[in-house]
C-alpha cells in the first residue's frame, strides 16, 4: 500500500545566481582564491563556475569575489 503523501508545496526560494562575462574575464583566478566553492581556474587557463546558485550563507563571500575581480567580470543576478 502506498503511503498517502501530503504534497508539501515546494519552497519558493529564489536563489541569486552568479554570472560571468567571459569576454571580460582574464582568468587571473582572484575569484577562485576568494570563493573556491564557486570558482575554479583550471590549468587550461579557463574559469569554470562550479556552482551557479549562491547559498544564502555564502552571499558575502561571493559579493567579495565580485568586488575583488580586477576585470569587473562577475555579477550577481537576482
Amino acid at each position: 500500500m502506498m503511503a498517502n503523501v501530503t504534497s508539501v508545496p515546494t519552497q519558493e526560494t529564489v536563489m541569486a545566481k552568479i554570472a560571468v562575462n567571459f569576454d571580460l574575464c582574464e582568468s587571473n583566478a582572484v575569484c577562485m582564491q576568494v570563493a573556491p566553492k564557486y570558482f575554479e581556474v583550471r590549468d587550461d587557463d579557463f574559469l569554470y563556475i562550479l556552482q551557479e546558485e549562491i547559498d544564502e550563507a555564502d552571499a558575502a563571500t561571493v559579493q567579495e569575489a565580485v568586488d575583488r575581480c580586477p576585470k569587473q567580470a562577475i555579477s550577481i543576478e537576482p
Partner: protein
C-alpha cells in the same frame, strides 16, 4: 554617525562608499574628488585603453544597480583638514563638518626633474593622461620613437603596449636591473628579458642626464653613460608620491602616507585606505604603504567597516597578503606576499626560460611570497597558503608533491 565624507573619488573611496551602504549606513555620504569624472579603473590606462582595445566608458567603476545615494562633489578638491573637529575645507564649496572621514586621496606620479615645459613628456595616472599618450603614440609619420624612463611595472606596461602599437621603444633604468629594489635578481631579470624578447632596447644602469628639444618638443634623451636616445616622446614611470600635502596641519601623522594604526584608523573618526595609507601590517611585522589595486579595494572596504564600528572597532586588524598583477605582451605577471631583493627564490613549477613558471619566495625560514608568470591559478593557491602562514620547508615539501 549620520554624515561621512570621503576624500578621493577613485577605487578605494568608491569601494568604501559601497561598503558603508552594505553595512547599513543610511546617513549622508559625500564623495569629494578633484577629477571631473565619475570613478574609473586605472589598470586599463596602461593596457587596453592605451592600446585602443577598450573604450573609456568600459572602465567606470559604477555598475548598473549600484544605487548608493551618494552626494557627489566632483571637480572639487579638499584643501585642508582639521582632524580634531572632522572639518574639511573645499576649494570651491566652503567648509564641511562630518561625523566620520575616509581619506582615499591616492598618489600621483613623480615628475622627472628637468622636463618642465617640454612637449612630448608624459606622466600616466588619469584617463586623460592615457588618452593623450595614446594620441601621441598613434599619430605622426612612421613609427613613433618612445623612451620610457623607469622600468617599474607601469613603465614596463607602457613599453609593452607601445610595442604592440608598432612603436620603437627604449626603456631607460637607472638601476642595474628592473625592479631591483622590489624583486630578487632572478625575477627582476626575467621581467627584463620579457622586453628584450620583444625588441625593446633596454638601457640598464643608465640615469637620465638631460634632454634635447626641438622647438619646445622633446627630441632626445641624454643618458649618464654619455649616449643619447632620439625620441618623439617620453613616458615617465619613476614611481608615485602619496597626495598628503593638503593634510599638513591637520593633526594627523604624515610619513610617506597617512599613518594609521593596525585597524586603518588615523585619528578618532578618521580612517585611510588605498595608495595614500600607511599602516603596520601585523602579518608581516612591517609598516607598509601598498600601491596595488587589490589593496585599494580591500582596504577601502575595511576602513569603511572600521569607521562604522567606532570605539568597538579596535580589534578590526587589517593584515592582508598583498596581491599585484601586471599584464605585459602576452605575459601575466602576478605577485603575492611581501618580498624584497634579498629573499630566496625557488622555481617550483614551469621554467623561467619558457616564461611560464611559479617561484616561491622565502625569508628567515618562512614563506613570504609567490611570483608567477602565466600561472594565475597556482599563484592564487599560494596566496591562500600565505594567508594561513607556512614555513619555507613546508612550502617546498608541498610544492614537490606537485600541488
Amino acid at each position: 554617525m549620520r554624515y561621512i565624507a570621503i576624500v578621493g573619488a577613485s577605487l578605494a573611496g568608491y569601494r568604501a562608499a559601497q561598503t558603508l551602504r552594505r553595512e547599513g549606513f543610511d546617513g549622508t555620504i559625500t564623495l569629494i574628488g578633484d577629477e571631473r569624472r565619475r570613478p574609473y579603473d586605472r589598470p586599463p590606462l596602461s593596457k587596453k585603453v592605451l592600446a585602443g582595445e577598450a573604450e573609456p566608458e568600459s572602465i567606470v567603476l559604477e555598475r548598473s544597480g549600484d544605487d548608493l545615494g551618494i552626494e557627489w562633489r566632483l571637480d572639487e578638491r579638499a584643501v585642508s583638514f582639521d582632524a580634531s573637529g572632522l572639518a574639511l575645507s573645499l576649494e570651491r564649496g566652503g567648509e564641511l563638518e562630518a561625523d566620520g572621514v575616509i581619506l582615499a586621496c591616492g598618489a600621483r606620479p613623480r615628475p622627472l626633474p628637468g622636463t618642465d615645459g617640454i612637449l612630448g613628456v608624459h606622466l600616466l595616472r588619469t584617463l586623460d593622461d592615457s588618452l593623450a599618450l595614446r594620441e601621441a603614440l598613434t599619430t605622426g609619420v612612421g613609427p613613433r620613437r618612445l623612451v620610457v624612463v623607469g622600468a617599474g611595472f607601469i613603465g614596463a606596461e607602457v613599453a609593452a603596449t607601445a610595442r604592440g602599437l608598432g612603436c620603437e621603444v627604449t626603456v631607460v633604468e637607472a638601476l642595474d636591473r628592473p625592479l631591483a629594489r622590489v624583486l630578487p635578481p632572478v625575477l627582476g631579470q626575467v621581467c627584463a628579458d620579457v622586453h628584450t624578447d620583444q625588441g625593446v632596447d633596454l638601457r640598464l644602469g643608465a640615469g637620465v642626464d638631460g634632454f634635447d628639444t626641438d622647438d619646445g618638443s622633446i627630441s632626445a634623451v641624454r643618458l649618464s653613460d654619455g649616449s643619447s636616445v632620439e625620441a618623439d616622446l617620453v613616458a615617465v614611470g619613476i614611481g608615485v608620491v602619496p597626495n598628503t600635502e593638503w593634510l599638513d596641519g591637520s593633526g594627523l601623522t604624515i610619513d610617506n602616507g597617512v599613518v594609521c594604526d593596525e585597524t586603518t584608523l588615523a585619528a578618532p573618526g578618521v580612517v585611510a585606505a588605498g595608495d595614500v595609507a600607511r599602516w603596520p601590517n601585523r602579518r608581516f611585522g612591517e609598516s607598509m604603504r601598498v600601491e596595488h589595486w587589490d589593496n585599494a579595494v580591500s582596504m577601502g572596504q575595511h576602513a569603511a567597516r572600521r569607521l562604522l564600528a567606532g570605539d568597538g572597532g579596535v580589534d578590526l586588524v587589517y593584515e592582508p597578503v598583498p596581491y599585484f598583477w601586471s599584464d605585459q605582451y602576452d605575459r601575466k605577471i602576478q605577485l603575492v606576499g611581501r618580498v624584497g631583493p634579498d629573499d630566496q627564490v625557488q622555481v617550483i613549477d614551469g621554467s623561467i626560460a619558457d616564461r611560464r613558471f611559479v617561484a616561491l619566495i622565502g625569508r628567515d625560514g618562512q614563506l613570504v611570497g609567490a611570483f608567477g608568470m602565466n600561472r594565475p591559478p597556482a599563484v592564487q593557491r599560494w596566496r591562500t597558503r600565505l594567508e594561513e602562514g607556512m614555513s619555507w620547508d613546508d612550502a617546498l615539501a608541498l610544492a614537490s608533491e606537485g600541488s
